[in-house]
């Protein structure tokens, strides 16, 4: 599928660029429409387990919704308190509600973009592309990849350590200070294990002749072709049109630190 075969570095740069532009805007409509557009693109041009995607998306929606409430609740005194909107039986200042909506949709737009990236990108390809296109030093890149492998092992390790401590008769803490002590007690074996693994992995890599020099060949050469430019062009064009619309219809607002 199109999104999966896209050059990962190009995809990442596009997403980051879009996020920066979105971060400067501050009306509720543009991010909302753009979020919907991004989700559509992801669903149409990506192939993955739609249920998992829905799960993540709903978690983020929940987060954004929570944010909506706290923002309204902790808002500054509005400049035009007379304009109100009724919500769930209460009256809220219109300005606060708009601000809150803008913030929440912004979060949604960011989330949709990062999900687009995460769900359609192979981590290894991404790192390879960082080396080949963005000139990340291979030593750093492969070191990162080696560390990244520990991620799936971590939960298991943590459970093991917890169990081991209980078996050894360390009781679980319930005071705040006890909690921090406990955090340290679990953290240390976990980290010690991670350091040992890292050390052994590094040794194994070097024993296979890895030096970190740029002069290596690639099993998966990553290239940027004409096709890869379609994605940034389309995404930025749509965002541009939305911004122009917001000017035309006069609901455009810059972001300048509203909360």
């Amino acid at each position: 599928m199109f999104l999966h075969t896209l050059n990962p570095a190009m995809k990442a740069c596009t997403v980051v660029g879009l996020v920066f532009v979105l971060a400067c805007l501050f009306d509720p409509v543009t991010p909302l429409v753009f979020t919907l557009f991004t989700i559509t693109v992801t669903l149409v041009f990506g192939r993955f387990r739609k249920r998992v995607y829905a799960l993540y998306l709903s978690a983020f929606t929940l987060f954004a919704f929570g944010m909506l409430w706290t923002t309204i609740a902790f808002a500054d005194t509005p400049s035009q308190p007379e304009e109100t909107i009724p919500l769930a039986g209460f009256l809220f200042p219109k300005e606060d509600v708009l601000t809150a909506l803008a913030l929440s949709f912004r979060v949604m737009a960011f989330a949709a973009l990062s999900l687009l990236f995460v769900f359609t990108t192979n981590m290894v390809h991404f790192i390879l592309s960082l080396i080949q296109q963005l000139k990340l030093p291979p030593k750093l890149a492969y070191g990162l990849m080696a560390g990244y492998r520990f991620l799936p092992m971590m939960k298991e390790e943590f459970d093991q350590i917890r169990a081991a401590h209980r078996i050894r008769g360390v009781t679980e803490a319930n005071s705040i200070k006890g909690r921090f002590k406990q955090l340290k007690r679990y953290a240390i074996p976990l980290l010690a294990g991670a350091v040992r693994k890292a050390e052994r992995t590094a040794a194994a890599m070097e024993s296979k002749g890895f030096t970190g020099e740029r002069t290596r060949t690639y099993y998966r050469p990553m290239k940027i072709t004409g096709r890869d430019w379609v994605f940034p062009l389309v995404m930025f064009a749509v965002l541009g049109v939305l911004i122009v619309l917001s000017f035309q219809l006069d609901y455009f607002r810059w972001y300048n630190g509203q909360f």
């Binding site: 997403v15 980051v16 996020v19 971060a23 993540y56 978690a59 983020f60 987060f63 954004a64 929570g66 706290t70 902790f74 808002a75 500054d76 913030l103 979060v107 960011f110 989330a111 973009l113 990062s114 990236f117 995460v118 981590m123 030093p137 030593k139 750093l140 070191g143 990162l144 080696a146 560390g147 990244y148 520990f150 991620l151 971590m154 921090f180 340290k184 953290a187 240390i188 074996p189 976990l190 980290l191 010690a192 991670a194 350091v195 040992r196 693994k197 890292a198 050390e199 992995t201 590094a202 040794a203 890599m205 070097e206 890895f210 970190g212 972001y255 300048n256 630190g257 509203q258 909360f259």
Partner: protein, 192 residues
């Protein structure tokens, strides 16, 4: 980067992976606190989110360790699903730069507790400035903002500076760091 040993990079990356998960785990805690106290709630425990930069710098003692570890941790957080999305990576970079600035001030010569606390404070200050523009603290009243900054600085000094050092020292005592800068220093201390 050239004179880093491969195993230092892998360790850096492993630390970042571990702490990315810890960072995520602390988000709900921050959320709970901010539910109780408002936006300032996060600042009480903000120090936890700089801890990897201090630990990595303290263990490896190389220029760039603080910045890199924090950046990588943030990136992994995003990949694991932090709702803030790619902007969080920038946040991580800013925080990492903050911590890095303290070590750079000593020209990477001193890793005394006070320097680590300073690194925590600098990370707090940098992250605060970034947050001021990015998350809109401007809309909050002046006194409140000042209180946020101070609490965040204290949290940075205590949680990431003092607690971070305690964790790293504990780790060094297990012996696994014997071929890293911190372990070597510990050995020298013991020998003398």
């Amino acid at each position: 980067m050239k004179n880093w040993k491969l195993k230092e990079i892998v360790v850096l990356s492993a630390l970042s992976v571990v702490f990315a998960v810890v960072y995520l785990a602390f988000l709900p805690v921050g959320k709970l606190l901010s539910g109780l106290f408002g936006p300032i709630g996060y600042d009480f425990i903000f120090g936890i989110w700089f801890i990897v930069s201090i630990i990595a710098a303290y263990i490896l003692r190389r220029p760039g360790a603080a910045f890199l570890s924090e950046t990588i941790a943030a990136t992994i957080e995003v990949l694991l699903g932090n709702a803030s999305g790619p902007l969080l990576i920038v946040t991580g970079m800013v925080q990492g730069l903050g911590a890095e600035s303290a070590f750079a001030l000593t020209r990477y010569r001193s890793y005394h507790l006070s320097v680590l606390m300073l690194a925590g404070i600098m990370a707090a200050v940098f992250s605060f400035i970034w947050g001021y523009f990015q998350s809109g603290y401007a809309a909050l009243s002046g006194g409140y903002v000042a209180a946020m900054l101070i609490i965040r600085m204290i949290s940075g000094a205590l949680i990431s500076g003092v607690f971070g050092k305690a964790v790293a020292d504990g780790l060094a005592r297990t012996g696994v760091l014997s071929s890293f800068a911190l372990g070597r220093e510990l050995r020298k201390k013991r020998a003398s």
